[in-house]
């Protein structure tokens, strides 16, 4: 084996050489390790039959650009995820189904400068992608409860407000707060308070649809963003959440701890000019729920519905 071939075989990246008809000419050991296919078994076969999902416009366009212009093509992990569906490194399997790859494609010329073949470099960037994912999550999620944080909630609220306005869609909001949470902390300690926060947020999350968004707004205050949802539906959801929390039992150091929550509901109406107004309306309703006895759902949007919703509880 000559020197360059030895390097070709031992480097810790994938190297593939394709001829002008996109048939495999070389396939290094890294590729064999990841794919299970030896070089002998793939040489001479079209890459599109070895890897059918490469038969897509982006890959083919880049192959053409490499052959016609001597371009380099870059397949970023962000846009493409991967080119070759290899399993991810063992420790990262829970995070990604496939190894995340950053790939480069370019021309190989003969002595006359004519492009004869194409090289492909495949780099495993799964670990980096995991770190990035974690960073993004940390930026969006509340560390204790795992639901969205205030920063994300504000941004999402703004986006959903704009979307609802643009397409004239229903849009409702639930703001809720654990009743007498300070008492929980004072009686059982902060660790118990944390447990309650976790349980309450998990319970609320279980009552919401995938398209809804739950975030922790303040200490024991939560906010549910309900796109495509009218007032009546939102009140139903809120009431369901109230019941679920009321019947929920948290076990802390062999003691059963129970809490209730108060909820304020508001629907985006024609007069409101910002998402802040919608939030204020829900927050005022929450205040009203607190003022009138807690463990209840209140809306200020339509008085008749409000009385009903409260008295039905």
């Amino acid at each position: 084996m000559n020197e360059l071939r030895q390097i070709f075989e031992t480097v810790n990246i994938g190297l593939v050489i394709l001829d002008s008809e996109l048939k495999v000419r070389s396939w290094n050991r890294w590729m064999t390790l990841q794919s299970g296919a030896t070089e002998e078994s793939v040489v001479g076969s079209p890459i599109l039959s070895i890897c059918p999902h490469l038969n897509n416009p982006v890959f083919l366009r880049n192959c053409k650009a490499v052959r016609a212009f001597g371009n380099f093509a870059f397949f970023s992990q962000k846009l493409h995820g991967y080119l070759f569906p290899f399993p991810p490194p063992r420790s990262l399997r829970s995070r990604f189904e496939f190894m995340q790859q950053s790939c480069t494609m370019g021309p190989i010329r003969n002595d006359e400068g004519v492009i004869e073949s194409i090289f492909l470099i495949v780099q495993d960037v799964t670990e980096l992608a995991v770190y990035e994912k974690k960073l993004v999550e940390m930026n969006m999620k509340d560390g204790l409860t795992g639901i969205y944080n205030r920063r994300y909630l504000d941004k999402r609220l703004e986006d959903e407000y704009k979307r609802a306005r643009r397409y004239s869609r229903d849009f409702s909001l639930i703001v809720c707060d654990i009743d007498f949470f300070k008492k929980v902390n004072d009686t059982y300690g902060h660790q118990c308070g944390d447990l309650i926060l976790k349980n309450v947020s998990a319970k609320i999350a279980s009552a919401l649809r995938k398209t809804d968004c739950l975030g922790r707004y303040g200490g024991e205050e939560f906010c549910c963003i309900l796109p495509e949802t009218g007032l009546e539906q939102a009140l139903l959801v809120a009431e369901r959440i109230r019941e679920m929390i009321q019947s929920m039992e948290s076990l802390y150091e062999e003691q059963t701890v129970k809490v209730t929550i108060s909820l304020g509901v508001a629907r985006l109406d024609e007069v409101m000019t910002s998402e802040k107004e919608l939030f204020s309306r829900a927050d005022e309703a929450l205040y009203e729920a607190k003022r009138t006895g807690r463990n209840r759902v209140v809306t200020l949007d339509c008085p008749a519905v409000q009385i009903q919703a409260v008295s039905n509880l």
Binding site: N56, N62, A68, G70, N71, F72, L79, G106
Partner: protein, 215 residues
């Protein structure tokens, strides 16, 4: 050939370079259409000699509203060496998504992923366009170049400005400017090629060789 007035390249050489660029961009546009169905018009290139540190100011003057642009930068290496800058309108990335990324992702994935998609699409369009133009020019001059991965230098952030430090002031540069226009998408912008100081001597020699075949 002599160098008058202390110029690093003569007016005659600039004329020849302009002609080469014109041929190169014409070929590039024709092949882009033929090979990958991208229909782009490239104007007759305009060539100037500018100290690289004056380039940000020059670009600023050329495009008026720098707050509304996205810029793709890519370096190329060979005997022909330098940087290419593609200047797009700020929203071009989103316009290109429908042209380029069939089935990669949909708009429903949220604003953040749309931004990433728009940025990555811009990088891909930039890579192909820069590669085609630089590739043809270097081919006519008798060189083959390699490229760095392209990057988006600016996004559509209203307060961004073209960073001064982007251009190495030592690279007193031949700047080529062309206007490109994507016919189907109604998107147009500028392409600047800034050649490094060290490749100027090689360019002059290549121009002489190029002309020799007609003499």
């Amino acid at each position: 050939m002599t160098i008058d007035d202390g110029k690093i390249i003569t007016d005659e050489e600039i004329d020849i370079l302009q002609e080469i660029m014109n041929i190169a961009f014409g070929t590039a546009a024709a092949e882009l259409a033929e090979v990958i169905n991208i229909f782009v018009e490239l104007s007759v290139p305009y060539i100037r000699l500018i100290p690289a540190d004056e380039l940000p100011e020059y670009i600023r003057q050329e495009i008026h509203d720098v707050s509304m642009i996205s810029m793709v930068e890519q370096n190329f290496w060979g005997k022909f060496k330098g940087s290419a800058f593609l200047i797009f309108p700020a929203d071009a990335g989103r316009v290109f998504i429908s042209l380029f990324e069939e089935g990669v992702a949909s708009e429903d994935e949220g604003a953040d992923s749309m931004d990433i998609l728009a940025k990555e699409t811009l990088i891909e369009v930039g890579n192909i366009l820069i590669g085609a133009c630089v590739g043809k020019v270097s081919e006519l001059l008798g060189d083959n170049v390699t490229y760095s991965p392209p990057s988006v230098v600016l996004g559509n952030h209203p307060n961004d400005e073209i960073p001064q430090g982007l251009f190495d002031p030592a690279n007193s540069a031949i700047v080529l400017r062309t206007v490109f226009c994507f016919q189907e998408r109604d998107v147009s912008g500028f392409l600047f090629l800034v050649t490094s100081h060290e490749s100027v001597q090689w360019i002059r020699e290549s121009l002489a060789t190029f002309m020799a075949q007609y003499e």
